[in-house]
């Protein structure tokens, strides 16, 4: 519980700082009088802050769900091909029907993400259960293959620029009001994961135990798949994939609090949101007034966090 209160304490000042930080200066005292300051807040700063919070929370939760689905801690939607599949779906819809409305694109990305993740789940079912490292390895191979396919198509059709935005550099500088609404769907998927928290936690006990308790493991897995695919697709469509959150946050929280998802999912969401927000803020401050992509900062900070976790002195 100490962890959760710490993180919740950190979220408020981080969010405030995020609202105040940017290339244009914002004076909180002038908000009432100056309509331009108000507009800057409502059109740019608030959307950006909300987008970052939603993305961080949703990706962290999607990471947990993915890890429960495969019963392996070394995977996240970004390392097993979900993000690449979503990008392929987007590519396809952009090529087939470039003028289609946003919701069609979102649907295409989600369906493709679901198909890609289902393919991964089918592949790893054939692996020997004890080989824990084969699972992330197969994921890396699959995501590599999917990415090459996407790159080939994008190259042929002059869409490389888009692909880069979707998969490489998740960043939030382009987020303004009205441009991040899809992330609320990722947020809703996260809530769905919370509703099903007990079922998802049970998955971790193995299919036989789940069946023995009268629960259909396949139904739970479908639900998890839906959460992972929706979150990933929405993030890829809106801001581009942000690496590492889905991997490092669930592992940190599991170390400290365990895997009883009913208790840990809110903490996972809060830590994910705080981590991405902190990284986004840092990215905005390090070379002010220019910005570093959040993914770059996360790479550095995330690995430091992970090292701390490994080397942290053990309490009895």
């Amino acid at each position: 519980m100490r962890v959760s209160s710490w993180v919740l304490l950190a979220l408020a000042p981080l969010s405030l700082a995020s609202l105040m930080t940017g290339a244009a200066s914002l004076d909180p005292s002038s908000l009432g009088a100056d309509p331009r300051a108000w507009m800057l807040l409502m059109e740019s700063r608030l959307p950006r802050t909300l987008a970052v919070l939603l993305t961080g929370a949703a990706l962290a939760v999607a990471g947990v769900v993915m890890q429960q689905l495969v019963r392996n801690r070394f995977v996240e939607p970004g390392t097993i091909g979900t993000a690449e599949s979503a990008a392929i779906g987007l590519l396809a819809i952009t090529l087939i029907a470039p003028a289609s409305p946003v919701w069609v694109k979102m649907l295409a990305a989600s369906l493709a993400a679901m198909a890609g993740t289902a393919l991964f789940l089918a592949l790893i079912r054939r692996l020997p259960p004890r080989e824990v490292l084969l699972v992330p390895l197969v994921g890396l191979i699959l995501s590599g293959v999917l990415q090459s396919a996407a790159t080939f198509v994008a190259w042929q059709t002059d869409l490389m620029q888009y692909l880069g935005i979707w998969l490489m550099t998740g960043e939030f500088s382009g987020v303004v009001a009205g441009r991040y609404a899809l992330l609320w769907i990722a947020g809703a998927a996260t809530c769905l994961a919370w509703v099903a928290a007990d079922r998802l936690a049970l998955l971790g006990l193995g299919e036989q135990t789940v069946t023995g308790l009268g629960l259909n493991p396949v139904a739970v897995m479908r639900l998890g798949l839906l959460v992972v695919a929706l979150v990933t697709a929405m993030v890829v469509v809106t801001v581009g994939m942000v690496p590492f959150v889905g991997l490092v946050v669930p592992n940190v929280v599991a170390r400290l609090m365990g895997d009883n998802l009913r208790a840990t999912l809110p903490v996972v969401a809060a830590v994910g949101a705080a981590l991405v927000l902190a990284c986004d803020l840092l990215g905005r401050l390090i070379r002010y007034p220019y910005e570093l992509p959040v993914g770059t900062v996360l790479g550095v900070l995330g690995s430091l966090l992970f090292l701390w976790l490994l080397w942290r002195p053990q309490r009895a």
């Binding site: 019963r71 079922r199 936690a201 036989q208 069946t211 308790l213």
Partner: protein, 252 residues
């Protein structure tokens, strides 16, 4: 009663179970014995609908396991698998709490909490309740899994090698508790054991498997004879008697 009729199971070309048919009595303790690879776990998992039934028919208290809704079965029988390794970092009381799932489906009430506490207490796990499973010894972990099955509070308990990793005292305590569940609460227990003397001392009924077939069944005194034991295990052993029950001298 559990009815098993003409059950066969194949994996690829290999026949694991070959026309197995028997009845496991209600209100009694049944021990499944047999050498490694005999098909004991396969049979137990088929009864517990953890494996799809390929051929034959299995009914628990008249409920066909292939057609009855899984939750209805979970309220009648609890299963402890042979392989209890899990990757999740759960606390002992969280694990035992999951045993109540069929009753509350995610909304535990005070009765569920009480059942969890009782199960923890019954297996000496109360002081370990807040520990993570990966911070326990093998036997303590095994007891946690048994407690989870116990918390499910079903009429039937199917236990695949519940004595794994337990020391003598805990093994005997578990057998005594199962025995009292049968005698005092009218429950029915089916368990796989390798140490035939536990079956000899506590079981009411023994089913012996070898190479996917039932080679003997009946009360301990009838099954645990030198001739049948030699047939099952392929080694000579003497059988004496202790307190009116067979005692198999298989270790010397």
């Amino acid at each position: 009663m559990i009815e098993i009729e003409a059950v066969s199971h194949r994996i690829g070309q290999v026949t694991i179970l070959d026309h197995v048919g028997t009845r496991l009595p209600r209100g009694a303790m049944t021990a499944l014995i047999g050498p490694n690879g005999a098909g004991k776990s396969t049979l137990l998992n088929l009864v517990a609908r953890l494996l799809p039934l390929q051929e034959g028919r299995i009914a628990v208290e008249g409920l066909d396991v292939t057609r009855t809704p899984s939750r209805a079965l979970a309220l009648r029988m609890a299963v402890l698998g042979q392989d209890t390794a899990i990757g999740s970092r759960l606390r002992v009381r969280e694990l035992v709490g999951f045993g109540r799932w069929p009753h509350h489906q995610g909304r535990p009430d005070p009765a569920d909490a009480a059942a969890v506490l009782a199960a923890l207490d019954a297996f000496g796990l109360t002081p370990l309740g807040a520990r993570f499973l990966d911070e326990l010894s093998g036997g303590q972990r095994q007891r946690a899994f048994v407690a989870m099955t116990f918390a499910q509070a079903t009429d039937w308990l199917l236990l695949d090698e519940p004595l794994n990793n337990l020391d003598m005292a805990h093994a005997r305590a578990l057998m005594a508790r199962l025995h009292s569940l049968v005698r005092e609460e009218g429950k029915s227990v089916v368990l796989v054991v390798h140490e035939v003397n536990y079956a000899a001392a506590w079981a009411d009924h023994i089913v012996a498997l070898r190479d996917g077939r039932i080679v003997a069944e009946g009360p301990p005194a009838e099954v645990l004879t030198p001739a049948i034991l030699c047939d099952i295990y392929g080694m000579e052993m003497a059988v004496t008697e202790h307190a009116g029950r067979p005692l198999v001298l298989h270790h010397i």
